[in-house]
């Protein structure tokens, strides 16, 4: 009777937890599992693949644990087969060395392949050439520079649909990290150097972006919106910003204002005339080098510092 009572309590707890998490999941929108870009979509598949592969080992572990615990409990009235000296069996051990080795072997191949195919630095092949966007993590806001379009934004980034975007990432702040879960992959932003991230959005929409690395008091508010729109709309938007006389120019005074540590709740749009601004921000941590190098040379040396081809 007591045993049955215990099983009933355990079953009730399991059922209760299942219902609770079922309800929680029904309320949730899970960005990583509902990808809006090619990178995030492949990462989602990769995630499901690893879970299924791991289950080949994990399910037997849980089943064996339950069966052995139940069958070999000393209170089992039908207990049999007690053998205190049974402690070696090379065939059995070969199985549980072997199967995990095979699984990890498969996963290792997948890892090697996806580390290259989903390398954040790898340019994405598409109908359109890759568009550069430079990203500066400030305390505690995101500054986006469009050197080709002559536009700059704060705390939001506009991306044309189906056009690959190469983000060049740096920081004028403690180490930060750039992440748009719906589109995939994050990379650190660090002072005095450039890292890269290539993404391709395939669906229009507004997606949340975050800094994933703690960088001071305003860290929690350092979010941004990635706004994916049609390519024509994107061009119209940049043209509009360029031609609007009321639009502010991102000059040194405006930049200095942004560099003051603060939380910026609103999104800001600027015209950008200085296409070398990004390199000046990167270069300010190595003042001696800037005088001798042109912008392009600096850019190359920054990439070299990453040790990345």
């Amino acid at each position: 009777m007591k045993g049955k009572y215990r099983i009933a309590v355990a079953a009730a707890i399991v059922l209760g937890l299942a219902l609770l998490f079922g309800w929680l999941l029904s309320t949730a929108h899970i960005d990583v599992l509902s990808p809006k870009g090619t990178i995030a979509a492949q990462q989602k598949d990769l995630m499901l693949f690893t879970v299924v592969l791991s289950a080949i080992v994990v399910v037997p572990v849980f089943v064996l644990l339950a069966v052995f615990a139940f069958k070999y409990r000393d209170t089992n009235p039908k207990h049999k087969g007690y053998d205190p000296e049974w402690k070696e069996n090379s065939k059995l051990e070969a199985i549980w060395w072997g199967i995990p080795m095979v699984i990890i072997g498969i996963l290792a191949v997948v890892t090697w392949y996806t580390s290259h195919s989903l390398d954040p630095y790898k340019k994405i092949q598409a109908d359109h050439p890759s568009m550069p966007v430079q990203v500066v993590a400030l305390q505690w806001k995101w500054l986006f520079l469009y050197p080709e379009q002559g536009v700059a934004t704060v705390n939001y980034v506009v991306m044309p649909k189906d056009v690959p975007v190469t983000f060049y990432l740096t920081a004028d702040a403690p180490m930060s990290a750039f992440w748009i879960p719906s589109l995939g992959s994050q990379i650190y932003n660090m002072n005095g150097m450039t890292s890269e991230l290539n993404l391709l959005a395939t669906q229009n929409g507004e997606y949340k972006g975050y800094s994933t690395n703690i960088n001071g008091r305003g860290y929690a508010d350092m979010t941004f919106t990635a706004n994916v729109i049609d390519r024509d709309d994107f061009n119209a938007w940049t043209d509009g910003v360029r031609s609007s006389p009321r639009m502010q120019l991102l000059d040194n005074a405006q930049l200095a204002r942004l560099q003051v540590p603060s939380v910026e709740k609103s999104a800001i749009t600027y015209r950008l005339d200085n296409s070398g601004l990004y390199h000046e921000i990167v270069g300010k941590y190595m003042p001696n080098m800037m005088h001798e190098m042109s912008d392009e040379a600096t850019m190359d040396s920054m990439s070299d510092m990453e040790g990345h081809h």
């Binding site: 052995f68 070999y72 069996n89 995990p100 790898k122 994050q186 941590y285 990453e306």
Partner: protein, 663 residues
């Protein structure tokens, strides 16, 4: 005025706490200490405390002190966790949480630091001290005095960590304190220095302990106990200690360089003048990754003792278990880069470290299967340590799955530094380390104190921890995939809130489990007469520690121990050898270390040294340093540091033990 600023360094009243929760702790902690002091005076226990505990060089006493400190810190760390989850349960949208951002950031830094350095490490060193020498048939550590120094350095680090709460505040930079955030430019105040010196001092103690354990295991094993006849727990300690000896110097150097940046304006890890923060991140993880194996391997060792004892069956695949430990030791040193796949290394580098990381899953998985097949054909009793084992397998295995997932760099890019990561490492550290050490404490408690713990409360504690764990951390996995990053003191998205609330409830359930654990100990002390262990072998154990009475005598073994096979005590019992005492020739005069206050004094000196460095009180720094050196010199001239117990005395005491076994 000039003199005052020389004396006080950069201290000023502005560093007094202002936040209500911090003021509460800042008042409560000293009051608690004063309360304990008053109680000690009232009950006239100072001399007892001094002679029996504070100055003792007996590894078992030192071990118990480690465990007491670690359990106190567990409560502190859990209160920190509760504050964090209380904040995130409330602070959505424009709603203010109960804590401001400074407090919140200090609390999560303190939570991580305390749980790793002063709870997990403390429980680990405690358990190793109390049972490792007994399990290998040794009378003591190889260096008993150094052992005491290690403990007091651990305490000094712990106190500095907590003093930050009272005066000056703690680091807001996370438990591994990445520069440049923790550099002078962004955090010039004393908080980061508290963090540095608390870890630096405790870390030095850990290094000494590691060296001590290695020498003890290699040189002090009982006659006949070859390495392959040694129980698995000492094996795991050996492997862990090698990791400590190799990894902790990296931590010491890294923190020292960061400290030079901060104290002397150097540029090791700054962004300018040729400094490179990426170097820090590499170095800290070159220590940090081995560190997580340092913590979990002894827990594996504990389960390798618990499962055979409660299944009443030899451990399955002993040799494989040893091989797996050594393999994990090796691989744990070539995976550190997986903590920062997202820092921009090339695909080849990322892939290499990812694959090495998942390779560790193979020996770890093998260990789990070997424990399962130790249960197979066994006759299993489900006392509390075994319930902890079941919870461990379930929780740790799930943590392993998410670990393998995150080892794939392309996948890690989508979950790194999100709450998915937070859930993953709690899954392995709580499931592996905490459950393992709590099983160990329950299992060896009778050997330390001579009575058992009330088993039912222990089982209840395990159930509550398991359920609390699921509630607290499963929501974090989902939150991570929803885009919630770690260390947020507030957030905008209201759909995250239900998950955070459930997680907060989970922390409360874990608190209830901890309360159950503490009441288990308290009630067991109350009812110790009923729970007394007269046999010295309450679980029908297999290894040498169960061959001596409970509590273990201060000299551990009365007669010279000789071992012929693995699980010697189990087979000795089957041959009824435990009933007849050894011949008189087996008893020899033995020498044991006398008490020494110098370990405690070095701890005090080092604590003051750290405090002086934090507050730039240079005169105190010099005084403390001179004091430490003087204590060490004085100790080296002390030749009268041992006392003898005669063979007759040992034989007499042992005769009484054997007599009891016949009753």
């Amino acid at each position: 005025m000039e003199l005052l600023s020389q004396l006080l360094g950069r201290m000023s009243l502005e560093y007094l706490p202002t936040e209500p929760a911090t003021i509460g702790a800042a008042v409560g902690m000293p009051l608690g200490a004063i309360g304990v002091a008053v109680a000690l005076t009232y009950f006239k226990k100072w001399r007892w405390l001094w002679n029996n505990w504070l100055t003792s060089l007996d590894a078992k006493k030192i071990g118990i002190m480690y465990i007491v400190v670690a359990l106190l810190m567990l409560v502190r760390g859990l209160f920190d966790a509760m504050m964090l989850r209380l904040q995130t349960a409330v602070a959505v949208g424009d709603t203010q949480g109960p804590f401001d951002v400074d407090t919140f950031q200090q609390v999560f830094t303190a939570h991580g630091t305390i749980m790793i350095f002063f709870v997990a490490m403390g429980l680990m060193f405690g358990l190793i001290n109390v049972v490792m020498p007994l399990m290998i048939g040794a009378r003591d550590m190889a260096f008993p005095w150094l052992n005491s120094v290690s403990f007091w350095l651990f305490v000094a680090g712990m106190i500095l960590n907590n003093v930050a709460l009272i005066f000056g505040g703690f680091s807001p930079g996370g438990w591994l304190g990445y520069p440049p955030l923790t550099g002078l430019e962004y955090n010039p105040g004393p908080g980061v220095d508290y963090w540095i010196w608390s870890l630096q001092i405790a870390g030095l103690g850990s290094l000494f302990s590691g060296i001590n354990f290695i020498v003890t295991i290699l040189k002090k094993r009982a006659r006949g106990m070859t390495m392959m006849k040694m129980p698995i727990f000492p094996w795991s300690v050996l492997v862990t200690s090698v990791l400590i000896a190799l990894a902790f110097p990296i931590l010491t150097v890294t923190l020292a360089l960061l400290s030079l940046d901060r104290l002397m304006g150097m540029h090791f890890f700054t962004s300018d003048m040729g400094g490179n923060p990426m170097m820090y991140i590499n170095l800290i993880w070159a220590w940090g990754h081995p560190e997580v194996y340092i913590l979990v391997l002894p827990a594996f060792g504990i389960f390798s003792e618990v499962v055979p004892t409660f299944a009443r069956k030899a451990l399955f695949g002993y040799k494989t278990m040893v091989a797996a430990l050594v393999a994990i030791m090796f691989f744990s040193f070539i995976v550190w880069q997986h903590h920062f796949f997202t820092m921009g290394a090339g695909a080849n580098v990322n892939a290499f470290f990812g694959i090495m990381t998942m390779v560790i899953a193979i020996p770890t998985g093998v260990k789990i299967f070997n424990w399962l097949f130790t249960m197979y054909k066994g006759k299993i009793r489900f006392d509390a340590p075994m319930i902890w084992f079941l919870a461990f397998v379930v929780t740790f295995t799930l943590g392993g799955v998410t670990g393998v997932m995150m080892a794939v760099p392309a996948l890690d890019f989508q979950v790194h530094n999100s709450l998915f990561l937070v859930a993953h490492f709690h899954n392995t550290i709580i499931g592996g380390v905490v459950f393992g050490f709590l099983a160990g404490i329950t299992y060896w408690f009778p050997k330390l104190f001579g009575f058992r713990l009330i088993d039912k409360l222990g089982r209840w504690s395990a159930y509550l921890w398991q359920i609390g764990f699921i509630l607290a951390f499963m929501p974090l996995y989902i939150l991570g995939l929803m885009g919630a990053v770690r260390r947020l003191d507030h957030y905008a998205d209201p759909t995250w809130q239900p998950f955070f609330i459930v997680s907060g409830i989970g922390v409360l359930v874990i608190m209830a489990g901890t309360f159950m654990l503490i009441s288990q100990i308290a009630l067991s002390v109350w009812k110790r007469k009923e729970l007394v262990d007269t046999t010295g072998d309450p679980w029908n154990g297999r290894t040498l520690e169960w061959s001596v009475p409970s509590p273990a005598p201060h000299y551990n073994f009365a007669s010279t121990v000789e071992v012929t096979k693995r699980d010697d005590w189990w087979y000795a019992k089957q041959a009824k050898k435990q009933l007849s005492p050894p011949p008189p020739s087996a008893y020899k005069d033995i020498w044991l270390p006398k008490n020494s206050a110098s370990g405690l004094l070095i701890g005090i000196g080092t604590g003051l040294f750290g405090f002086a460095a934090i507050w730039h009180m240079w005169w105190l720094l010099v005084v403390a340093l001179v004091f430490i050196v003087a204590v060490i010199i004085r100790r080296t001239y002390n030749t009268d540091d041992e006392y003898m117990i005669s063979a007759e005395e040992l034989m007499k005491e042992d005769a009484a033990v054997y007599k009891r076994r016949h009753v």
